[in-house]
Amino acid sequence: MAAAEKIIGSRIKRREDPRLITGEAKYLEDIQLPGLLHAAILRSPHAHAKIKSIDTSKAAKHPGVIAVYTGKDFADVNPMPCAWQAGKVKNNVNTPRVLEIDRVTFTGAGVAVVVAEDRYMAQDALELIHVDYEVLPAVVDAEKATKAGAPQLHENAPNNIALEWTCGTQDTTDRALKEADVVVKQRMINQRLIPTPMETRGCIAQYQAATEEWTVWMTSQAPHVMRLLMTAFVFGVPETKMRVISPQIGGGFGAKIFLYPEYCLMAALSRKIGRPVKWMETRSENYIATTHGRDHITEIEVGAKRDGTITALKVNTYANLGGVLSTIAPGIPTTLYGRMLSGTYRIPNIFCHVYGVYTNTGMVDAYRGAGRPEATYVIERAVDLVAHELGLDPVAVRRKNFIPPEAFPYDPVILNGLKYDSGQYAKALDLALKMLGYENFRKEQAEARKQGRYLGVGFSSYVEICGVAPSAWIGLPGEGWGAGLWESANVRVHLTGKVVVTTGSQSHGQGHETSVAQVVAGELGISVDDVIVQHSDTLGTPFGYGTYGSRSTAVGTVAVYNSLQKIKEKAKLLGAHMLEAAPEDVVFEDGKVFVKGSPDQSKTIQEIAGAAALAYSLPPGMEPFLDNTSYYDPPNCTFPFGTHICVVEVDKETGEVKIKRYIAIDDVGKVINPMIVEGQVHGGIVQGVAQALWEGAVYDDNGQLLTGSLMDYAIPKADFFPTFETDRTETPTPVNPLGVKGAGETGTIASTPAVVNAIVDALAPFGVKHIDMPVTPPKVWRILQGNGG
């Protein structure tokens, strides 16, 4: 349909922006309620300790203080659930409580709370609480934590192992490695990151004793899931007793998916005290109490033939999960990591072994990309290591091993039954190379080297997995998630022809209010201005699993699309009735129903919606109103791909790496709003490049976070980057009728190996084969001075 194609795929300005650019949007911190109290949380200064006693008497007497509580006061509240445990293996689960009672396993664990009339009073009183700790030895390194003699964090997890998981086949992989012409081994660190959305976390809970019902506002990417976990698992009450609202959310990047102790604590406090209670995280708290991401120690062995054909990949990873498990922590370094290690290549033998390990550090869970950046880093570094070993061009080795377009749907075997949906990997690479001008670059590089300047180019031809939902695959019997992750939508065409869409997805910067409206407008042939998209309130929206893993378009918006088809079917029946035509003779096009070949005599969707709502002349048996709810459980995930190229120059004197060019070709399937997709790509690239060059959480041996503020943790600034050169290829997915794959994480997933490969290329004259992230100037400088990496 002409109109549909025009709106779907166009650069419509975002409809959520007017409230954001004027300061009218209401974030959690902006919400005030009558009688609102403020909570401040006392957190453990020790990474590993027994709590011997807590004296709250002085704090309780401080002016303005309403109550002071410790963990013992909430012994009847269950610990947080771990909703995604690694599939088909034993998980030794330990999760946080609203406040810890006997023992803390990381710096920042909550041990007491003050509730006061204002935040200043609460904060002042916090300093009057005395906790007697017995400090225990700590371990922060995941590999060391598994060795004999390491401090033990939990009784049920010998050697601090939360889980041991494998995928692929060990014996065939070992055999293939033995038979390979070359085998390259490499140890690589994927360092711990701190997500750092610009808005920290917060929560307000209000309890109504008369009905025993809560309303909870929280900074959540998944309000329906929060309600389910809090009611059914933590408090043991019916789900219907709680309404969860995510107000305007200031970014999440995964860190706002999870059920945190503070949310349950606010709910427990408001029930105890009978007044609404608010907690807003400070940035310093955010760094120690909100989840971190990545933190892998990995050893790889990759085997290849002399011509560059990769024959085997063996990976052993220690994944640091922190002191206790966050909501979906076990699923990230297993399903979302190990199963994506084949990348864009045909690799006949893969084996991946993962230890998920407890250490005395903050919780680690999904952070933008979640498992796929770690997998992409492994395979894209592996390809370069093979190329380097064999003296081949890294582009040629990629081409040699690419899964060809005719091989789709492609089964990489390690995906446990899923198949890559569609892909044209060489096409994306070719476009990227054309933008780069590869041959010229190599000449320029050779010239520069003669002058003592070190340029490098790095490639990353990635594939990732989005729309993680199919119940048959992700659910308990398969990948271990406690449920199928279908999505829902309701579409209502009101009497006036205005459309209200409610979705179980959640938007915290992604622009759903615009992109979903574009799909509705396109399908119904109406103006985008006539569509309202509502989300983030469990009261008014159908159940949904929320927004993460680039799933809102590939799963949530497809549910909207499915509802629109059913609405169009009903509109056709009613339109035919109004035109006194046979249903089989009419068509729905550009927002009108008419008899095929007679568009002059038509009924508009607005007229039909009005007739459906007024309901006094409906065909026999037809219910009033144009209204439909859909639940969409996709048959497969979607697999976006592309090639990113980074060009760097390394300063020989200072060791500083400067990004000269960054080219990103992404194929995210069909695009609903190119402007929004480009924005997602830009933001993702910055987070990935930042991991490669600057960011990294650092704990000392005692478990103190040394990078605990924005002064110490290197969030990149505007002048760290050149203008990115982006373009797309478009390979629709056959998985869903919109052909969309997902675009929220490609930049973060693709970029780290592109940058590191470029740096290694630049430093090749110095004999460098590998360098760990973040590639900071001192690290490079030492190499340039001949002192190793």
Partner: protein, 152 residues
């Protein structure tokens, strides 16, 4: 202490604690919640406002320091019901995603153009170094500032 501060053209007189930050004065005393707090170490710039024509981080300024002064916040940028050209440019160029850094980013960008009406890309990126954005990768923010400046 008693302070009198003109905010977005209106004079407000209030009793405040000496330790009250300007950002809390704006948000909690006046209900102007457009100005956000993103950190506690003066790094992020989400709270940037104009005080007597100068860009300040309102989390690093006490309300009493603004006594007798004039403050402009994001809520005061519109004139006669029309968006400021910088607000229009951020909208047009997709210079925001979650929107949390946006009020501070816009206030900084307005100040930037006041001191340098036709900046280069490099000057814009340098001028924004006191503001952190975690969503956009800055590229479309730079484009927005350029568009507002009318420079190509």
């Amino acid at each position: 202490m008693k302070v009198s501060i003109k905010v977005n053209g209106t004079l407000y007189e209030r009793e405040v604690e000496p330790r009250m930050l300007l950002v809390h004065f704006l948000r909690e005393e006046l209900g102007l919640t457009g100005t956000n707090v993103g950190c506690d170490t003066s790094q992020c710039g989400a709270c940037n406002v104009h005080l007597n024509g100068q860009l300040v981080k309102s989390c690093t300024c006490l309300a009493v320091q603004a006594d007798g002064g004039e403050v402009t916040t994001i809520e005061g940028l519109k004139s006669n019901g029309h968006l400021h050209p910088m607000q229009e440019a951020f909208w047009e160029k997709h210079g925001l995603q979650c929107g949390f850094c946006t009020p501070g980013m816009i206030m900084t960008s307005v100040a930037l153009l006041q001191s340098n009406p036709h900046p280069t890309d490099e000057e814009i990126r340098h001028g924004l170094e006191g503001n952190l954005c975690r969503c956009t990768g800055y590229q479309n923010i730079v484009a927005a500032v350029k568009a507002a400046a009318g420079t190509k």
